[in-house]
Structure formats: C-alpha cells, structure tokens
Amino acid sequence: MPTLPLTVITDPLCHRHDTGGNGHPEDPARLTVIAGRLGQSPLAPMITTMPPRPAERQWLTTVHSEEYLYRFEETTLAGKSYLDHPDNQLCFESYEAALLSAGAGLAAIDLLEGGATSRAFCCARPPGHHAERNLALGFCFLNNAAVAARYWQQAHGRRKVMIVDWDAHHGNGIQSAFEEDPEVFYLSLHEHPTWSFPGTGWKEETGLGAGKGTTCNIPLPPGSDDAAVMKAIAEQVEPALSRFVPEALVICAGFDGHVADDMSGLSYTTALYRQLGHCAARWAERYCRGKVLTLLEGGYELNSLAASVEMYLTGLATPEP
C-alpha cells in the first residue's frame, strides 16, 4: 500500500502542562497513548517527528490581546491553579507548553510551504479552539488554529484559509476570531448547542459584515453517527469548499465525538476517522497543492483517542480504496 510521508510535530514539554490530575479529562496521557499507538502502527516507518518552536508574540497577538497573554503568563508564574474558570487547570510550565502548542502549527506551515512534507499533524496540547481573544475556555488557552491561519496568510501569503473543525464541540474561539473576515472560512461540525458545551455554534450564524457567508455551523443532534457526518460532508462541507476555493487548509481534529468518549453525546466509530482522513487528503489535493495542516483538539477517552488518531492519519496518508 503506497503511503505518503507524514510529519508529526510534538514536544515533551507539551506533556508537562499539568491539569492537576483528579480525573481531569485533558491529561498528558492523551499524548502518551497517541505516541505509543503510532509507534506500533504500520504507519510508523512513514512518520517523521519534528519539534515545534514557541509561537512568537507577533503571531499570538494576531488573535489574542497583549493584556490576555500577560495575564495568562502571570497566572502560571504566580503558581495559580487555573485561568478564568476552574476547568482551565494549569501549572508553572503551562504557558511555555501553550506557546509550543501554538507554535507547532507555525513550524508545520513552514515545513508544508518549504516542500518538506504535505501532511503535517500537530500532536500537541493544550488544545485551542475554545480560547477567545481575552478568555481561556474549555481547557484551551491559546487559539492554535486561529494563530496558524493568520501565520499562513501573513508569513506565506496564502490569503484564503479554510478551517474545518470536526471536534465534537463548537470552536467558539475560532468563529469569533474570523466572523467578520471574508478570507478565513470557519466550518464546524459539532453536537447541537442546546445540548453541548460551550452552547454556541448555531446554524443561523453565517458570519458578520464582510465575513457574511464564511462561517458555517453544522450542528448534529445527540446520537449522530458516521453516516450523519458523511452526509453533512457531501451536502454542506464539499459545496462550501468548492465555493470558497481555499489556498490553505487547516483541520481541527478533535476525537471526542467518538461513541466511547463521554464528553459528547455523538456516536462516531473509529472507522469514521479514516474517512475524515481521506476527505482532508482529497480537499488538499483539489485545492491546496496537496498540503494540509491538522491540529489536535479534543478527544479524552484514551483508547478511542489513540485508535482514532491512527485511523485518521491512515486515511490522510493512504489512497482511498
């Protein structure tokens, strides 16, 4: 089976972001199980692991305020246990880990644009899509995807960036970052906001002002399965891509829609993630010179997380049957 090379960006410091144990779902073990699984995988020979770099301040401030970055850093240095809400547990090293998690996307984009790889997966934490300009939310501190999109535009001149987010939850932080921007399209498939955290991402929201038409929310009822996702992709996601014609593609890959993951009521199976990998590869070939950046978002049930990541990367790197 011919396979494309995969680049996985990860760093040991991402494990040191300590969320306090006590069953906190966003645990360092998430990265450990993924690394373990990929090490044993038939994909292993195709994987090159690369380090991230800390995201530079000039890129972070395209999304977050100076005041917020300062407050986040101060909170970690002062030895406090959380930022903005007890959900967002942190430790002394969390700020540095978050800089690397955001910087992983930047390093990956340089590799993609330099031709070193065409499939990059940032296996980093903390996740990002709930983080707002001035607010930590839902275990997220820096909005990794939003920072990556701005970097892609401003450092590499790819103007039109498409972000497809199939984490079980709505990426409120990404939506609010680009709601008024016609050059970044944010599309999210998530469990319906009536039932799901963070209670945002209504179908009626399609962007504001100049950005009207470049936000798309696809809420799925609790219990939605693989078929529901594939139907939405065929009927809504692919038409949106062909209307927008992106020059760069970011996938926000959260694996918490898996039926085994109790952080959502969605009922995806592991097999869905292979199909999602094929989709990302197909879109990359069609619109983005084969290049696609994937960022790890959620996914908290360790067994299904590891298996689903492997499945997704398999789909991403191997041709469709």
């Binding site: 069953g23 906190h24 779902p25 809400h85 007890p86 959900d87 709930h130 939310l137 839902g138 275990f139 939850h169 409120n172 906001p193 009536t194 039932w195 799901s196 955290f197 963070p198 209670g199 945002t200 209504w202 609790p222 219990g223 109790d262 952080m263 959502s264 009521g265 908290y300």
Partner: protein
C-alpha cells in the same frame, strides 16, 4: 421574574391629539410596534399598533385624486380616532408568567406597564418576553452545557442532584424537572452546568444514582 426587570423603558406614550402621520413617523423612527396613548393627565386611554396605522392609510389601488383627499384627511385625524380602547396592562411587580398568560390569551403583541398611579412606566412586548426567557434559560450562555438526566422515581431527585454537584464543586446554573406528558414520555431533569468537565459531571450524577441519557425525539404514533 418581575416585569420591571425586563420591560422596555422609558415608556414612550403619545398624546391622544397626535396625528396619524406623526404617530407613524415616530413608530418607524424608533422601530417600535406599539404605542400607548395617554390623555392630558397622563392616564392610559388606548393602544395603537403599526398595523392600526398602516390600515388607516388609503389603498394604492385607489385613484390618485382619492388618495390625495384621504391623505389630507389623515393629516388632521388624531390617533384617538383609530386607537384600540380595550387594552390589557401589567404592573412592574407583575411576573413574566402573568405577562405570558395575558399575551397568549388576548393575542396582543405588547402590554403597557402601569405604576400604582396608572402612569405608563414601560412597555412589555412578546420580544421582551422571548429575551427574558432566553436569559433565564441560559440559551447561548458561552461555556455551559445541558445535561439530560432520567428521573429515577426516588424521592427528592433535585435535592440529591444539587447536593452531589455541590460536593464535587461542579458549577451549575439551571435545574429543571419536567413531569412526563403521556405514557411515551419520561419524567426528565434538565441540568445546565457551567463546565466543560462533563466526565466529572457524569461521574457525580452516577454516584447519586442517576442515569445521564442522550436526548432523543420520541415521535407520537399516528
């Protein structure tokens, strides 16, 4: 739950002598749909709606001459000629429930809010009602999630739930129990938590003996 907290203020009331074109202009410029009409002493004597005002105008199918005569007539007609003299009111200390019952029963779009002296102090419209319940129910409150729990039929379900959540320091903002409507339905408890740590919520509820369910639609047989 008091109307005072949710009504639109200040109340814009118009004198009964105001002409129809003037009232129409005022409604349009303020994007209102209802205006209380008051007498010289400020006492409420009627209500006028955008619909009343629109239907006072001549139809465009009439001849140009007829329209002209009608418009000239309207310029001299006070709103008291076309206002609705029967109206329903609430007071600042009425509750959202009072207003809902009245709005629903009387099929009106808005209720003037009168103080004890009968002075118009605000207006409460269906839009205000929607906004009020939206806030109360926590719709779109960023950072929350709704959990659906099956009522196990044992005593004091809400007490047991709030106790276990407080023990685990899980923030929650709404706890609603709905009785079963019919044989197909189940008594259901809706819980709005202010956390993303839903695993912790589930474990706490399990500890209290509750079953978290995935909400589904039960369709009634034809």
């Amino acid at each position: 739950m008091f109307i005072a907290r949710y009504m639109t203020t200040p109340a814009l009331a118009i004198p009964q002598e105001m002409t129809i074109p003037a009232a129409r202009e005022l409604l349009q410029s303020r994007h209102f749909r209802h205006l209380p009409v008051v007498d010289d002493t400020g006492k409420l004597i009627g209500m006028i709606t955008d619909r009343d005002l629109r239907s006072a105008y001549p139809s465009s199918v009439l001849s140009g001459e007829t329209i002209k005569t009608c418009l000239a007539e309207l310029d001299k007609t006070p709103v008291s000629a076309i206002m609705t003299r029967s109206f329903f009111t609430v007071s600042p200390s009425s509750t959202l429930d009072d207003a809902l019952i009245l709005l629903d029963r009387e099929r009106v779009g808005a209720l003037p809010v009168l103080d004890e002296g009968g002075k118009v102090v605000g207006i409460f419209s269906i839009r205000d009602l929607i906004k009020a319940y939206r806030t109360l129910f926590g719709l779109g409150e960023r950072g929350s999630a709704m959990i659906v729990v099956e009522d196990d039929g044992n005593p004091k379900p809400l007490t047991r739930i709030s106790r276990v959540l407080e023990e685990h320091r899980i923030r929650f903002t709404r706890l609603i129990r709905k009785d079963k409507d019919d044989a197909l339905d189940k008594a259901t408890i809706y819980l709005r938590v202010n956390t993303y740590n839903l695993s912790a919520v589930r474990n706490a509820l399990k500890e209290a003996g509750f079953n978290v369910t995935i909400p589904t639609i039960t369709l009634k047989p034809e």
